[in-house]
Symmetry: C2
Subunit: 151 residues, 2 copies
């Protein structure tokens, strides 16, 4: 198989460390779009190695697959992305990450000041942050330490 024919899904899997099934799944989620060879098998560009690596990094940063798809849509569609292109779309990751770090640091500092001091009764306590919780899991509002709306 000549280089110009592209990578098979197995080759891409070996290069990225992802499972073949995961790569197919990402395709189903719109994160990557291979073409097909005459036999119907998927073929990938070398640039897709970097694309999938970016997906993996973004996942570590806590983005969901739809969010990553959104970020990737910022890449040029008509040509192979350049380092500058990657740098450009990484800006979004950067601010996402800054936010997460800020949140965690705030939580940590208030773990000391709040659980530590034994107050644990809110909403004056900054551990009270329904938005963070709502995003992180499940559905509906939650309140901490006994300060539900009804009192």
């Amino acid at each position: 198989m000549a280089v110009s024919d592209g990578l098979s899904i197995g080759a891409l899997a070996r290069r990225t460390g992802l499972a073949v099934s995961a790569i197919r799944y990402y395709e189903a989620q719109g994160l990557i779009s291979p073409w097909r060879n005459p036999g119907g098998q998927r073929r990938y560009q070398r640039a897709d190695i970097r694309r999938l690596s970016f997906v993996m990094i973004a996942q570590q940063f806590g983005l969901t697959l739809p969010e990553i798809r959104e970020v990737l849509s910022g890449l040029p569609g008509n040509r192979t992305p350049t380092p500058k292109d990657w740098k450009e779309i990484s800006k979004g990751l950067r601010s996402h990450l800054d936010q997460r770090i800020d949140t965690l640091i705030r939580l940590r500092d208030n773990l000391d000041g709040c659980i530590g001091c034994g107050c644990l009764s809110l909403p004056k306590c900054a551990l009270y942050n329904p938005d963070d919780r709502a995003k992180s899991h499940g559905s509906g509002p939650r309140y901490l330490m006994g300060d539900a709306p009804e009192g």
Copy 2:
């Protein structure tokens, strides 16, 4: 219902902001242990408000329910936990959180230095951290930017 009879599950749900179904689920997972009134309904202590609040906070910190159960097992079983007891078991959360923050800061700094500079080819790059990925989701090792073992 007198105060000494304890809280119903609905009352506890209102005080914590959790869904009734979630509280029953936590019980099934061994995170909380109500007693039953003569009619078979669950009754909770006021201290359980704090217990569930702790569960919610620990979840924000990224602990799984089994992990939280483990942490909670550090509380005294024979009496209502004091602020000091809560402070004590919060130490584990603290180090967990410190680790997460360190990881994210490392990732952020290398996002600048690595995606930013356009190198994106590893393993010299510190974004390469299979352990973090392996923990955060799914199964098996993954490699970034085309540096799988086979080369």
